[in-house]
Symmetry: C2
Subunit: 616 residues, 2 copies
Amino acid sequence: MPTIWPAPMRPAAAPTARSLRVAIGQLWLPVGDLDGNHRRIAETMAWAEEQGSDLLVLPELAITGYPPEDLVHHPDFVGDNLEVLTSLAELAEDCVTVVGFVDPVEGGPGPDSTPRYLANAVALLYRGEVRGRYHKVLLPNYGVFDERRYFAAGERFGGTWSLHGAEVGVLVCEDLWRADVPDAQTGDGAQIIVSANASPYHRGKQAEREHTVTDTARRCGLPVVYAAGVGGQDEVVFDGGSMIADASGRIVARTPAFTQSRLVTDVDLPAAPEPIRSTFTCRPQRAEERPRLGAPPVARVPEGPEEVYRALVEGVAAYVDRNEHRLALLGLSGGVDSALVALLAADALDVHRVHALTMPGPQTPSEATADALDLADRIGLRCDVVDVTDELERVASTLEAATDAGPMAGEVLLPSLRAVHLSALAERTDGIVLVTSNKTETALGYAGNGLVLPGGFAPLKDVPKTLVYDLCRWRNAVDGEAFGWRVGTGAIPQRIIDRQPSAQRTPTRPDREIPAGYEDVDAILEGFVERAASPDVLVEEGFDALVVERVVELVDRNERTRAQLPPGVKVTSRGFGRDRRLPLTHEYRAQVTPRGEERTDLGAAQLVGEELWFEG
Amino acid sequence: MPTIWPAPMRPAAAPTARSLRVAIGQLWLPVGDLDGNHRRIAETMAWAEEQGSDLLVLPELAITGYPPEDLVHHPDFVGDNLEVLTSLAELAEDCVTVVGFVDPVEGGPGPDSTPRYLANAVALLYRGEVRGRYHKVLLPNYGVFDERRYFAAGERFGGTWSLHGAEVGVLVCEDLWRADVPDAQTGDGAQIIVSANASPYHRGKQAEREHTVTDTARRCGLPVVYAAGVGGQDEVVFDGGSMIADASGRIVARTPAFTQSRLVTDVDLPAAPEPIRSTFTCRPQRAEERPRLGAPPVARVPEGPEEVYRALVEGVAAYVDRNEHRLALLGLSGGVDSALVALLAADALDVHRVHALTMPGPQTPSEATADALDLADRIGLRCDVVDVTDELERVASTLEAATDAGPMAGEVLLPSLRAVHLSALAERTDGIVLVTSNKTETALGYAGNGLVLPGGFAPLKDVPKTLVYDLCRWRNAVDGEAFGWRVGTGAIPQRIIDRQPSAQRTPTRPDREIPAGYEDVDAILEGFVERAASPDVLVEEGFDALVVERVVELVDRNERTRAQLPPGVKVTSRGFGRDRRLPLTHEYRAQVTPRGEERTDLGAAQLVGEELWFEG
């Protein structure tokens, strides 16, 4: 294998272009769909060529989709990905295409005893050939990311490419989030920084990205091109957000969120510094030969409940469709959680592909069933009534007779029996069950303990209860048509939104009672789970010590009940899933420090062992 | 924070000891049990002191248990771990204790944009103080390991400590699996290498460890001390295997597998080379003052089905007990899988803590129920008969009447209803459901698709069907008393072992038929999953191309049905779980290359892009 860096230094023609025509392909590139991704990328290359683009930038690992995870250990996968690369190179004409792929490398000693034989790479395709490659230097290994598991790190921070008369610095995603790589490329004479990205959505993520992009542009005094993809991949959603910042750090182009789109624009370049330290020229510039394009769109960034709702729609659509399910099935209880999931499914899939059951048991109030049917009617989806009272009593009495465990609790049997009905129906109809548990329940262990679970998808797994209400209110107020959905306004009956949640209304067992109002519980969860605030800090922030202790204890004790829930869409900065990996079994119990006692803080504890060396 | 390396060079007394009295504490150290681990370590320190030991070596991350995962991000956890370290240091007398802990470090630039503020460390405790620390250099980030997620790597490969007149090289687990660290310590004058380890069990793992230990001893010409822990932690089991190799690479001491144990022996040291490059002396030697200890035990290494069975027992015991379940519940079908799980549970927990149900449905043959009861009787555990025929028919008819999905299939409803009974009983009795699916079923997706799943534990999740038979035969032949179990020989009726498995006997649906005999399917799975052999290689190895293609397709398509199964015990080199992380949703389909076509192999494909740089 040839080494990319260090590369031979070559004398280069001084850069002369004043602008570069840059195209971005914000594509949907499903993981493992090598043939489909070949087609999507090829179409975009043809379009960029037609536009007279100098450069086309695609998302990170465009050929394989992101993240391919252990697929890269699949014996044929990397070879198949290289075949796609070769074939795309053959299609390349005068527009230089920056395309992500998995590149085999010589396995050198890595961070452990196992060499890595692969790099997270981009190739530069031009006139029928792969003409250059760059290996990602910074490999994220935190949050949802595991890149150190797979990849050898690229070793070179700087370097530029001379493309159509412009000095171009090319990098991949994480490389942009620390100063070293873009600064080194700037030092080596770059006139523009181009980044291929795969950045999973969470609330407010686009603002973080734009901060990084504009900050880099200002610091380096260069335009920055940021290309990202869209679509759901299990727990994560890629929301797009491709953009271009000019050399002053102003966003001058942005693609619409959550939507496949193409963008092409002429990017003004600052003068190149002399001397250029590493330059490789593909051909003379052509920027001056054509009329300048008009100003590109700067799409608005969705905010608040809208961005969350749209991420959920993308996540549900991807999981159901890509796994080839014909129908989505769910149980409607007359509560807000199932109402929201029904609406999400209808918006994601179309009402004809959603089939609901409402399954009253012995204590289900008739207005709950009526509200469920009213909701289904307003959305326009099918909802069958399945009364499970008889079955429930029969199962309970069989079990009571056969064992001596005493009376069976309806609150355990009822959801389990409902799950049996939904799962059986799913199996008969090539359907998938959408589980309606929200993040608050999941955190406290009320969704899982002692219940059977249907295989499926849990759209609200990372949506706290208070956010469920916000989403219902937002969706009720907007006409879906504006977003390409069939359902209009006001689909969720007000009675559903106003009804007190069952956990607060009639806690059938004291250990299932929500320890405080949802506002407080969700705020404590946000602090403990997302911010990793300690119980003491939460008490200092004004929350009741007993409530804090109870919430923290339930979160800690319920890792294993959460572990078996279906996947759901990550919408917060730390969801339960890839993002947060705790032992299912552990004896650690975080506690509020009793008044009067002092907790050793880390600053003090760090002094332990300052006497470092044995001195006899 | 003080920097450990580079350390000031100090003139040192030439080492004079000819032997070192080394103690190993092969302890059970549950993750997060800081108080309990404090007690266990303190007791072992007192014992080692009594034995006149110079050095006590404990497992990796002894204070926190291994692996703590995201517990280290828990706001108070690291501080609490340091408090335990300080308290243990106060107990230290003349025996130098090597104890693992999580050490805060200054966060420098890491492999990505997020600094790591922690190291995987060992401290050297002596006369009331933490007198030295070592930070693990190689951080495994493959298989079940994720250490790069948490830790900054130690930067120093070499260096030794002068302890009781001997030059000692101290390192942590992965550091031993590559030559750099032990070789650098040898070069710096070490007379003995000491390693603190946490090495998860799989079949044949002890032979791999011993190869590494003896190889290092021979290469370095030094004795090697290897300390490991025991006990189950979710999917992994630590099986012990602590040992000492002499300078010629012969194993001279070994603790019994799967058992907490202590070992103390006088280890002969080779002469120290001159000059010693980094030496820090705790105090003059004392080796000559006492009579030499007798030869230590070299415990036998369990092999074949025995080692797997014992690992499963440890895994079940740990998961059930540490999660504070009073009972283990399972369904007995009259088949081998449930028979084996019943016996495992009885051996792991005692028969009084196992409660079985046998739940005949409309087509269950009466001899299956009779065999289940016979098995329960021989083991001595309670088994109640719950006939679910009526319930099954009622659920089916309710669903058929309410929807138009057509007749409901018993093979979906029956296991789901059984799961409901077990889960409800678990909830009433503080029990946990043991799911009886084996690895072969799990691989092919027959355990999960369309079914509801009880929360619980799946002991056989990584045990292929052919190994299930081997385990049954082995366990039937041995008297449990030899291993401290209550059940004697012959507990599994021969009729259960002889009965043809249901998937082969009466495949009720063609898509649930096992594609070939279990011997072939398991061999293909071993090749594809454990060895990552490509379909083409498996065909070359002599397996039928259609069978290979079908098995591989089922494995690839069923990631998501496996993802929701309860955790199980890893017993192969690659289990379904932490070990193997595939996207739940992906479009990649590995295939056998049709005759006549040629697959681009990686060697050829690597040539793509050899023309590396744009040259204009």
